[in-house]
Every structure is written in structure tokens, then in C-alpha cells.
């Protein structure tokens, strides 16, 4: 009954075979990292907060375009007589009362065209980038904060750190999951904004013109395609993990 047993010399003990029902995935750095990103997304998908933030992002995009469309509806519901366009030319103001009904209608249409421009592409994208996405960034900050901080406040970080992957891998997995969430959020808000703008634009009666679409815009296609792929990432990661490798 010794209190000071000898410490074993180096020489790794062989690992006995595990039960057949345990199916391990690839254990290289990248595979572990991808699996952890999938795990983070799995957790996020099951969180009520993620759903609430998603709904908020959707609502923000919708509200921004509803606010933008207020001008259009105001112009639509204003009688043409109001659009006298009494802009002075130098020191000699024109006689507003002399404008014909056709000129007044044209004035109204011109103003409607201008006011409803943000509802149509490409200006709607500009509205999304300048107004909706900064608000969406706040939601992402909230999500990331709870994703990382929650692990420490709940104490689950201890559970994760005793399972094998390194702390760096866990951190990178959270960064990866954040990127995926950001892309999904941007896509959600952009698509919602564009669709909402188009729907609201019907009221103006001015059709969408795709003349703006030039060769330069085709540069946006690859990142957009990647973005569209992102919602499928969790299941793609699972497929990667299914390349079974018994160790």
C-alpha cells in the first residue's frame, strides 16, 4: 500500500476496439472543424432566440420598405392639381395656374417615379444595404453574444472542452457558424426587402426595368450563389461527417 507509486514511463497504451454502434467520423483538423460548425448550427437551429431574431430580421426588412412606400402611397392619393410645379426660373416665376391637366398629371407621374424608385431594383438593394443591414448587424451581434457567452454562463463549455477538440477548434467553429448566420441573415433580409419592394411597387403602376443589369452585375452572381448554398450548409456538413472512418 504505497503512497508513492512509480510513474509510468512513456509508451502509449493501445486503444481497445469500441462497440460497433459507435461510428466515428474523420478526425483530421478540417473535418473536426466542419463537424463542430455543423454542431453549432444545429444548436442555433433549435434555439428560440435564433427564430425570434430571424423573425425580427424579416420584420425589419418589411417595415423599412413599408416606410419607404409611404411616399409612393402619399403621391398616389394626392390629386394632380397639387402638382403645380411652381419652380421659379431665375427671378421670373412661372404662372402655375396656367398648367394644363396633362402637365399636372405628368408632374404627378414624374414625382411618383422618383418617390417609388427605392422600391425597385437596383435602388431597393441600396436601401437594404444602407438601412436594413445595419439593423440586421445588431441582431447578429446579439446572436453571437448569446452563442459564445451562453456557453460560459450555462457551464456547457466544460462539457465541450472534455470531448476532444481543441479550444481553437471550438472558437473557429463559432466564427464559422457566425459567418454562416450572417450570410443567411443578409440573404433573408435582401430577399425579403426585394420582394416587399416589388410587391409595394405594384401600387405605383411603374414596371421593373432591368436595363441596369450590366456585365458588372454578373460579378455578384458567384457570391450570391454561395450565399444561396449557405442554408444548406448544416446538412452538407452532416454529409461530410457521414464519410465513416473507424478509429
Amino acid at each position: 500500500m504505497s503512497l508513492t507509486p512509480q510513474v509510468s514511463t512513456e509508451g502509449t497504451l493501445p486503444s481497445p476496439a469500441r462497440t460497433g454502434s459507435v461510428i466515428l467520423g474523420r478526425q483530421d483538423y478540417l473535418s473536426v472543424l466542419l463537424r463542430l460548425i455543423g454542431m453549432e448550427l444545429y444548436k442555433l437551429r433549435h434555439r428560440t432566440m435564433s427564430r425570434v431574431l430571424g423573425i425580427l430580421a424579416f420584420a425589419i426588412a418589411l417595415i423599412v420598405f413599408l416606410l419607404v412606400s409611404l411616399g409612393t402611397f402619399f403621391v398616389l392619393n394626392t390629386p394632380p392639381e397639387t402638382f403645380t410645379s411652381c419652380q421659379g426660373q431665375g427671378s421670373q416665376p412661372t404662372n402655375c395656374s396656367q398648367l394644363s391637366a396633362a402637365q399636372l398629371a405628368q408632374n404627378k407621374q414624374d414625382l411618383l417615379q422618383t418617390v417609388s424608385e427605392p422600391l425597385r431594383l437596383p435602388d431597393s438593394l441600396n436601401i437594404i444595404v444602407q438601412v436594413a443591414l445595419p439593423l440586421g448587424a445588431i441582431l447578429i451581434v446579439i446572436l453571437v453574444g448569446s452563442m459564445a457567452g451562453g456557453e460560459f454562463s450555462l457551464g456547457t463549455v466544460r462539457l465541450m472542452f472534455t470531448r476532444g477538440p481543441t479550444r481553437t477548434q471550438f472558437l473557429l467553429a463559432k466564427v464559422g457558424a457566425t459567418l454562416v448566420c450572417t450570410v443567411i441573415g443578409v440573404l433573408l433580409m435582401s430577399i425579403t426587402g426585394i420582394l416587399a419592394g416589388q410587391l409595394l411597387n405594384f401600387a405605383s403602376g411603374i414596371g421593373q426595368n432591368f436595363n441596369f443589369f450590366s456585365a458588372g452585375w454578373s460579378m455578384c452572381l458567384p457570391p450570391c450563389s454561395i450565399g444561396l448554398f449557405m442554408p444548406l450548409l448544416p446538412s452538407s456538413l452532416a454529409l461530410w461527417g457521414d464519410q465513416r472512418w473507424q478509429v
Binding site: 509510468s8 512513456e10 463537424r35
Partner: protein, 366 residues
């Protein structure tokens, strides 16, 4: 041949620590710890609250770095090879905590993915197996936040066993469990041990430890005060309680036994006299219970006939309390235990010193 045996012994060491020390500022939580756990051991890790058990487990799992010394698991240094060691270990550290918004099954999916198991439904069979093992299958889809303390504890054990690890570290696994739950965990540990798993069990429940562990280590204030086989420890604490008809006979018997010890009866460690509830003196003889017949015969040869004779098997609890709480007199504990068994010997009115301090001479164990 001896070298071969040593090599074989080395290859069977699963956990080995050498001068392992952890200090938090001026507080030394673990001091100079030498532990050795062999393959297939069910190793009980005992100690009062704050004795450094959880700190040791946290060092073994790489959650904190030792201030000095080293720990070796599966022949690999814990600090240098932690990523290779952890997939071979299943652990519960303190109260297990999971994601409250996920169900028990979803939590196991997450733990599985973090443990290197493939995602998706591929490991559903294994998850079902461990849930069945801890009898949580019926509540598998219930949110973790709705689990009772016992269910949380069982889910922790399920998570620890998920990857079918070789070494299972359990820190107070029966916390919050009812007696039936404790019994199930005890059976589970015995089943795992039968499968050849090495179990490192930190617990306060000494009765549980005594029933399932083959080896124990006892910590106090960060220092290792005892390490060894449970059976050896228990054998060293066996006693025989003898009540004679009169005080004179009792004193006479004591002298006879002490003489026998001096003449070379090395199985006789010490002889004490204590007073029972009826105010009658009783002989407490520190000797293996298998020597009861020998004691009876020795007394009978000297015309002393025992009115009562109780072979008494020590318990781990008694050894533990004796080592960690010397202020509690050992005679009190034995008196209470014997009372529970026979109803004749009562609690000692005056404290009796511990066995070590009363022992006359250094009679070796048998």
C-alpha cells in the same frame, strides 16, 4: 522475467500522476499527488469537500493546468497529448450541464458531434443504447430544462458513455439520485467494470464506493493520505467485540490477550476496554474477525467464557472518518455499528481515542 513483469505492469497503468500539484494563489488545492490507476480498476477517489478531488479530475481532463508535477493517461502526458487522450475518456465533472433548450437526445447528438462521432442519424443506435442504459429513453425528447436532478445526472452518465470510452471519470455521479437511482448507477458501474472499463469514481457515498470499488485513494486538504486495495484496508480494520460477565473477568481477559500478543500472536493488533450502554465493560479487540474462534478458545483455556462475541467487519466509512476526521472517536462509531447489529453494545459515554493512538506496540497485520 522480473523486467517483463514490470513492463506488463507499466502497460496496465491507465492513470499515473507524479508530484501533481495545483495552487490557486496561496491556496494549495492539490499537493504532491501520486496516484496510480490500473486498467480495469474501479478506483474510488474519496475526500471531504474541498479536499481537491474535483481539482484533480479537472487537471486530468486538461481543464486546468497543474502548477507542478505531471499526469500521464494511457502512457501520454496530459498537457502534451490531450487531444489524443480525451476521445478515449468519458467524464462527468461536478454537476453535468447541457443545453437547456435541447432535448436529452439532441444534447447527445451535440455531444456526439463534439466527440468525433458522425453527425445526423448514423449514431442514433448508439444514442438509443446509452439512453436505454440510463433509463432515459422515455424522456429522450423532453427538453433538458424540464429534467429532474436525477435525470440530468443520468444524462451526464449517458454522455460520458456515448463513445464507449476505455476510461470513465465520474465526479459524484449519484448526486441528486434517489436510493433506487443510486442502486442503478452502482449496477451500471459494475457492468462497465465487467466489460473491462476503467472507472475513476469520486464520491462521498462511502457505502457505494465500498461496494463497487476495488481500489481507493483518500485525499485530505489536497494531500493523499491513503491509497490501496479496499479489501486490504477493510481487513486492517476488522475487530472482535467480546463481553464477559463481570468487570474482573474483562480486565483478566485483557491481560491474557496482551500476554498472548507479547508471546508472538501477531494477528492481535490491540486490545481495549469500553463500557456499553448497560454500564458493562466490553473488550474491543483489533484482530481479524476470522480469529474469533481463536480468541474464544484462548479465553476458555483460562476459564473465561464470553457471554457475547461479535466478529466485526470494518467499513470504508469508518476508515475514512478515522483518517479524515480524527476528532470523532473510533469507539463511538464501532459502538453504534455494533448496536445496529446486535442491540447489546451502546454508544460509549466517554470518547475513546483512535485505534492508532491506543495500539500497544506495533503488532503487524496478519
Amino acid at each position: 522475467m522480473q523486467e517483463n513483469n514490470e513492463a506488463l505492469l507499466q502497460s496496465d497503468i491507465v492513470i499515473s500522476t507524479s508530484r501533481l500539484t495545483k495552487a490557486f494563489g496561496k491556496l494549495i488545492a492539490v499537493n504532491d499527488l501520486h496516484l496510480q490507476v490500473m486498467r480495469g480498476d474501479v478506483f474510488g477517489f474519496l475526500g471531504p469537500n474541498g479536499s481537491g478531488k474535483t481539482t484533480t479530475i479537472r487537471m486530468l481532463l486538461g481543464l486546468i493546468r497543474p502548477t507542478a508535477g505531471r499526469a500521464v493517461i494511457f502512457g501520454m502526458d496530459v498537457i502534451q497529448h490531450m487531444p489524443s487522450i480525451l476521445p478515449r475518456i468519458g467524464a462527468i465533472v461536478e454537476t453535468p450541464v447541457f443545453y437547456p433548450y435541447l432535448s436529452g437526445m439532441d444534447n447527445l447528438h451535440v455531444v456526439g458531434a463534439a466527440s468525433g462521432m458522425v453527425s445526423g442519424k448514423a449514431n442514433q443506435r448508439r444514442i438509443d443504447e446509452v439512453l436505454e442504459l440510463v433509463e432515459l429513453h422515455a424522456q429522450a425528447k423532453m427538453a433538458y430544462r424540464k429534467y429532474s436532478l436525477g435525470m440530468k445526472q443520468r444524462l451526464g452518465i449517458a454522455a460520458a458513455l456515448l463513445t464507449d470510452p476505455e476510461l470513465v471519470l465520474l465526479d459524484e455521479p449519484t448526486n441528486g439520485l434517489d436510493p433506487a437511482g443510486m442502486f442503478e448507477i452502482r449496477q451500471l458501474i459494475q457492468r462497465l467494470a465487467a466489460l473491462g472499463k476503467t472507472i475513476f469514481l469520486s464520491s462521498h457515498l462511502l457505502n457505494e464506493v465500498q461496494q463497487v470499488c476495488n481500489r481507493v485513494a483518500i485525499l485530505q486538504k489536497g494531500n493523499l493520505i491513503k491509497q490501496g486495495n479496499v479489501s486490504e484496508l477493510l481487513r486492517g480494520s476488522e475487530q472482535v467485540l467480546v463481553r464477559l460477565n463481570t468487570s474482573e473477568e474483562t480486565q483478566q481477559a485483557k491481560l491474557i490477550l496482551q500476554e498472548a500478543k507479547e508471546r508472538g500472536a501477531d494477528w492481535l493488533r490491540a486490545v481495549h476496554v469500553q463500557i456499553d450502554r448497560q454500564g458493562q465493560p466490553t473488550l474491543r479487540i483489533d484482530a481479524p474477525k476470522s480469529c474469533s474462534t481463536e480468541i474464544n478458545a484462548l479465553l476458555a483455556r483460562n476459564n473465561l467464557f464470553a457471554a457475547e462475541l461479535h466478529p466485526y467487519e470494518g467499513s470504508l466509512e469508518e476508515i475514512y472518518l478515522q483518517l479524515t476526521t480524527p476528532s470523532i472517536p473510533s469507539g463511538t462509531r464501532i459502538g453504534m455499528a455494533a448496536l445496529a447489529g446486535s442491540g447489546t453494545i451502546a454508544q460509549q459515554p466517554e470518547p475513546i481515542p483512535t485505534i492508532e493512538t491506543v495500539s500497544e506496540g506495533k503488532g503487524g497485520t496478519r
